[in-house]
Amino acid sequence: MAEYPTPTTEQEFAANFAQIKPLMSNTEALYESSRCLFCFDAPCIKACPSGIDIPQFIRQINTGNTIGAAKTIYEANYFGNACGKVCPTEVLCEGACVYNLNDQKPIEIGRLQSHATRKVIDSGKHLFGPGPANGRKVAVIGAGPAGISCACELRALGYAVDVFEAREQPSGLTLYGVAPYKITNAEALAEMDYLEQQFGYRVHYNHRISTREELQRLEDEYDAIFLGIGLGATNALLLPGEERTNCVGAVEFIEQLRTEHQHVAVGRKVIVLGGGNTAMDAASESARLGAEDVTLAYRRGKGEMGAYGFEYDLAKGAGVKGLFNVAPVEIVGNGKVEGVRFIRTATLDGQVQIVPGSEFVEPCDMVIKATGQAKQTGFLHLIPGLQLDGKGRIVADTRTGQTSNPRYFASGDALNGGAEVVNAAAEAKQTARGIHEFLSGN
């Protein structure tokens, strides 16, 4: 039985995809901020990849200086509002909060963070601005968390910045990939508008950089180029029947969900292939779109899934079932997907082995492949001298973000192989400093 009715209106969609970290009222923020102990060398700061001074901003909220709190957050992380909502705080700041050790509820750092930043976003409060122009120009490819964060920091340092973005709107996977119950489109875009107003970089939308000629032009016109291109499309399964209608990639499915909401058609019985966080999201999302039956199918055991425990719990809470130790061998059907042929597996000495003769067909009318995102190696090969590692990740200096082509710098998923918004934001801010070091010599 479906836990969620199929949404047909924007309200019904919003109800099924209700925010799991809703905005805090002033009163809630006062009470929650009061609980913070103001730890010395607080462990929450150390667990935050962007190193936000958490006790400081919480104390600022508590003393009625919410604007100052937002400033503290943004000075460390330009995606402060989005991060408060989409970060896996359970394993980052909130997971490190000392209250956990007393079996008490950790401070709701994420929600406090979004509360403070939302105040300045809503009021358009002027907190930052471009630094005095230094006459140099940087091109940023990709308007995701990495690209936008780099653009903000470069503007603060006085650079002219042009951002080239393939899609229609900014913020990358924050808008096109993250689950809708974590952040709404309006929230993600409001922060982007705010940052653009504060820093005044230029974004060229619907402008994919895809040829050597275009890159050449950027190399001619700009002093440095920042690669914030993220990852690519869902990896192919390379299984027979993969081309059948209703066998889709998770990132593509989610992108459609984020842009079309309740207008996305989901199957009645959906099988999601994969055991990572994207698989959990896709399964939850299918259930919330009204699928009657959603099954997560994973090659190994439940405990070996790459997904965070709380993400699996969230999927289970939406009515998703698990099917473990099975490997897909074929997508069966007649034009349209009718089922997945699986074979059972066993893990021996860490190796997944198939159990011969254990094949069976699990019927379904939709398959979502959450089998990881491909790297954009084809595009990256157009950049002379750019070195990639064995997994197709850009190789760069860990401190400056400089790649093996000295005028190219990189951060975010394209560099780290796929992490979180906060990692992209933190790395890119630091890389902007690396660009500055390279161009200014200090």
Partner: protein, 472 residues
Amino acid sequence: MPDLSINFAGIKSPNPFWLASAPPTNSGYQVMKAFDAGWGGAVWKTLGVPVVNVSSRYGGVNYRDKRLIGFNNIELISDRPLADNLREIEEVKKFFPHHAVIASLMVQSRQEWHDIVRDVTNAGADGIELNFGCPHGMCERGMGSAVGQEPEVLKTIVEWVMEVARIPVIVKLTPNISDITEPARAARAGGADAISLINTIQSIVGVDLDKFAPYPIVDGQGTNGGYCGPAVKPIALNMVKNCAQDPNVRLPISGIGGIENWRDAVEHILLGASSVQVCTAAMHFGFGIIREMTAGLEQYMTEKGFQTIYDFVGKALPNVRHWEDLNLKYQVKAHIHEDKCIGCQLCYTACEDGAHQAIRLQEGTRVPAIIEQNCVGCNLCSLVCPVEQCITMERRDDATEHLTWKERTEAGTIPVTFNDDRAGGLHHWVPEPVAALGKERHKTLPGKARALGSPQEATVSAPTATDVLSAS
């Protein structure tokens, strides 16, 4: 079942909990409701001369999310007609003959005092309290704290009252004076039967940062008011103790100031009060708090084997001594119970920055360690630690020696010069001043720059959530 009843200078009450003279005792309706709820007595809102109140009368002190840890008011005495109050006193006494109704009074001339004392006695009041405490509004008219601050005037007025009083008379003292025992002694000299303290403390409770005016604001301006609530309890306790220990006072004491639960009440009693009065807590939480107060007091008395309140009135007084009588040989040191520690390191930073640099951080754990030889046993760390019983102060001397400052003075062994060998801090280790440099500065940098600026933490790539997971 312990007996909670009291006979306070002749005023009988089923328990020691009285409502103080304040808004909760403004009317017969409120007093009856309170008695029904379980209060033992009520000191009626002060009656006297006609007054007019302003609008916007109270201000509060909040601590983080805790409301009204301090409370201040610029209200005056009762603004209801005397006749109405007298009629209601009479009615309350008809319904509650065994509860204590005490009339609080404040007038000016001898004749006025005589008249009003007779009026409230005729109305059936069990006792009288003379309000010599109000620190605003009334003192400008020569009443309230203007009287309480002048022992001679106070004594004269008490004498006037005693000329006609047929029921016990309590004098309510103002704390806005440097030595509380002076007016207490004057009250005794004037013939009063008891004292009650403290009234409110002259205060400004806060300033509006946008309107540039003190709270509470009356049309853009404000005035000093009277401070009360939980924050004033320590001041009240000390004054109660001072009066209780003074051999020249020797009057029953009704303790007032910051009482909100049974514990606060027991503290007042242990320092010499034999009835207690409550205002702010009743204004904050209503009359229902009395259930917790009586239940707690009963439980405490049962556990301690006290039959009556008088079994423990003043029981802590012998242990409240002058500083010079304390044992200099007694030595406690902080002890961290590692199993309870949650690693907030508040103890570390408190001792490091606010005490004696006697706590150090340890490699590989967030649990700090005490440097025993530096610990002076000040308690600070145990006071800031957010976990119950996580830092305890352990006795380290062998309890065989006892030596006080007084004894040392008498023996001629006290330090007498600045560089005297016998001074306390001489052999105490302190770090070199320059050792402080570089410890805090990087924390002023934002985000990852802060980590990069820290000497130990010059890690470059931020941990991802997965790193954090796999590390744990």
